[in-house]
């Protein structure tokens, strides 16, 4: 039985299930729905109406999924509150974590002893512990409040405006191409976190080069890092924004495409502004590198890089390559996201 609504229904039921069970349960549900439909074969009414009847009879995908995962009646928060509770909890925890992280980040940036080149590990550790404790207590508090409120609503049977189930409102099944995996989102967030730590919170340490000099020194010039601080923050914020939109939609939508386009734009701007500065790499590194290997990192071993004019030709070669790669990759990402978004809509 081929019907768009049936596919959507089965997808909605199995969406959050473990992968190895999805195929089997989908097949079984398909069989069940086909059986229920064939029973109605002689009844009056169009095929579409019958499909709607059957899907309504089966109940909302959430309830059915809950049956599969093992419904427990002696629960603190039962259905239909539970589905809404989970949704609200996810959003609240995400918002609290984001809010606390951003506000602490701002306070760290303001407190940062930029004038002092030897930012001690102890100072950094203190900030980190402070962030962690407030995050932990914030999340715990948010969790407790949401849970208590929903437990009371459930006990008292208060009517919550849960969107009534209607087969016609089932979201479309995204094509394989249009789906966005959790791994991709987690990858983005981890990258943003590491980037923030190295280049925004700890510009004086950033990537420490050990063994090329008596004392370890940072690979990137802390002064230029501090100079482009706000651009770097904007870069991280767009990545996090993109991750949030991806998390909510779970597929390539126009909103996700817009977020990706914005991130790409900001990352190109960041690459050109930050990496396009010849002073960006710590001059000590350039000197020591030339002493040790006899090669200059600037230009093509000291000569202008062919094909590039002006300042670009004398940039450190690795930076020039990085800029070209970042710009190309950003443009490619926008194009591929655009294809995924607009092809899958037809």
């Amino acid at each position: 039985m081929e019907h768009k609504l049936i596919d959507r229904y089965i997808y909605a039921v199995t969406r959050q299930m473990p992968k190895k069970e999805v195929a089997d349960i989908s097949r079984e549900l398909d069989e069940l729905i086909a059986s229920m439909l064939s029973e109605r074969a002689d009844a009056p009414g169009s095929e579409d109406e019958k499909v709607r009847q059957v899907l309504t009879e089966l109940g909302s995908p959430g309830e059915l999924a809950r049956e599969y995962t093992g419904a427990v009646d002696e629960s603190l928060i039962g259905q239909p509150y539970y589905s809404l509770y989970l949704k609200v909890l996810k959003i609240v925890l995400f918002a609290v974590a984001l809010g606390l992280t951003v506000s602490l980040l701002v306070s760290v940036i303001n407190d940062l002893p930029f004038a002092d080149p030897d930012v001690s590990m102890e100072w950094f550790l203190n900030e980190f512990v402070e962030w962690f404790t407030s995050l932990f207590s914030g999340l715990l508090g948010a969790f407790a409040w949401v849970t208590i409120i929903f437990a009371i609503l459930y006990r008292k049977g208060v009517k919550v405006d849960v969107v009534p189930y209607d087969p016609d409102n089932l979201p479309e099944v995204p094509s394989e191409k249009a789906r966005i995996g959790r791994a991709e989102i987690i990858g983005d967030v981890i990258f943003a976190t590491i980037f923030t730590m190295l280049f925004i919170v700890l510009p004086n340490i950033n990537i420490p080069i050990i063994g090329m000099s008596e004392k370890p020194f940072p690979l990137f010039n802390p002064e230029t890092l501090v100079g482009v601080r706000y651009l770097l923050i904007a870069f991280v914020v767009t990545i996090i924004l993109e991750a949030i939109v991806k998390f909510i939609d779970g597929r390539h939508t126009v909103r996700v495409f817009a977020a990706i386009a914005l991130t790409s734009l900001v990352s190109i701007a960041t690459a050109l502004t930050w990496l396009g500065n010849p002073l960006d790499i710590n001059p000590i590194f350039g000197e020591r590198f030339q002493e040790l290997t006899g090669f200059s990192i600037y230009g093509f071993n000291g000569q202008p890089v062919p094909g590039f004019g002006g300042e670009w030709a004398s940039l450190p070669l690795p930076l020039l390559i990085a800029i070209v790669v970042i710009v190309a990759a950003s443009i490619l990402e926008v194009v591929s996201a655009g294809l995924n978004t607009f092809q899958s809509r037809n």
């Binding site: 349960i25 097949r27 079984e28 069989e31 069940l32 229920m36 109940g59 059915l64 049956e67």
Partner: protein, 118 residues
């Protein structure tokens, strides 16, 4: 009593819920597929929703009381469930317990019925 009907419905559903495992295991002594089970129980006067039976069959299978096989010889493949030896042993024990409980409950009720008449 305002919520009489609702309370009654609640109680009867609770009562039947405890018996679904027994009834479903009993039916699965013959190989059967989900929708056939829905129909046969409905005919026999113990109707259960399809959205209860399908997940229940899976759960019983996970517990090792049933096993399943896809029959792909027909136009629409069907998943047939059948009781395992372990499931049969479980069923016999549950059946004995049900009979015993049923007897006891009847006794309790009849005893009181008797005293009330006097």
């Amino acid at each position: 009593m305002e919520d009489f009907d609702a309370t009654f419905l609640n109680s009867s559903v609770e009562l039947r819920r405890g018996l679904t495992n027994l009834v479903v295991l009993s039916e699965c002594r013959q190989p059967t597929y989900g929708y056939e089970l829905v129909k046969s129980l409905e005919k026999k006067g113990f109707p259960l929703d399809a959205n209860t039976i399908y997940p229940l069959l899976r759960r019983l299978e996970k517990q090792g009381l049933l096993n399943s096989d896809w029959d792909t010889s027909m136009e629409k493949p069907r998943k047939y469930y059948q009781i395992t030896p372990e499931g049969a042993r479980f069923f016999e024990q549950l059946k004995a317990y049900w009979n015993e409980t049923n007897r006891t409950v009847k006794q309790i009720i009849e005893e009181q019925d008797g005293t009330q008449i006097n």
